[in-house]
Symmetry: C2
Subunit: 155 residues, 2 copies
Amino acid sequence: MPRLDATDEQILAALTDNARATFAEIGARVNLSAPAVKRRVDRLLDLGVIRGFTTVVDRSALGWHTEAYVQVYCQGAIAPAELRRAWEDIPEVLSAATVTGTADAILHVLARDMQHLESALERIRSRADLKRSESIVVLTNLIDRSRTADPGEGG
Amino acid sequence: MPRLDATDEQILAALTDNARATFAEIGARVNLSAPAVKRRVDRLLDLGVIRGFTTVVDRSALGWHTEAYVQVYCQGAIAPAELRRAWEDIPEVLSAATVTGTADAILHVLARDMQHLESALERIRSRADLKRSESIVVLTNLIDRSRTADPGEGG
DNA sequence: CCTGAAAATACATGCCA
DNA sequence: TGGCATGTATTTTCAGG
């Protein structure tokens, strides 16, 4: 099993900070040339240590402040993977999980306003064969760090 | 308040898929030229909708399978931000949170083996002024999706 | 395993539709 | 807005220590 040295750790830290940094920029931070950084990143990708590169999206910057938890009751038994496929492309869905209890799944939904929320619920219902759904709209968020890149510096 | 059109949503989806995709690649997916994509991405950055770009790291690919929850008792009162700074650069620390109860904080730690875990605990203790700590080692994980980029395809 | 250089790509800009 | 054209930067490959 391969082990990472201190330079690999620094490269991972740099890429976690900014996945679009150039190899030269990373190299300046870890005292390495750009080609050397690239080869290490390629190796980390090859090993599966780097799973991929993503973007952290914050829709509250667009004034999306209407938030709801939606309990969903399916028509018969549906595989979790199927539900994921049904909803993963709906940008209003922050998270979805199958749960214990009477509901089959619970979705966390973020929208601009009530009208927008209603249209999102419409899309959520149309993509899966649901018996019914029950929405709980959030009045005030007491604690929420899930949409904050750096919990120490507010949002 | 600005609103995003369907093309912006597609660009966000593409960047969430792969934050290091080139503007030309994204353009091919959304039927736009590379400069047009760049201008939209710049606008999304400007609006704060794109918070940044990160890397998803999976250390289980390196055979890190020894996992523990560490309850930590501080020497007097310490600000959460201070604890975060103390531990955020330790790669073995998956998460850290201040908690209710008798302990001040709980850390989720992942290491290669017991020896490696011990050295990580040593570092954790040395970076903060701790009275004592108490480790609970995980025997078997029943459910854990936190380190899985795509829950539908196992890890 | 690294650096340094060269060729192939991609980015950033200005200008025009 | 978007597309095209251009100069600049970056990536990627290769030679050499």
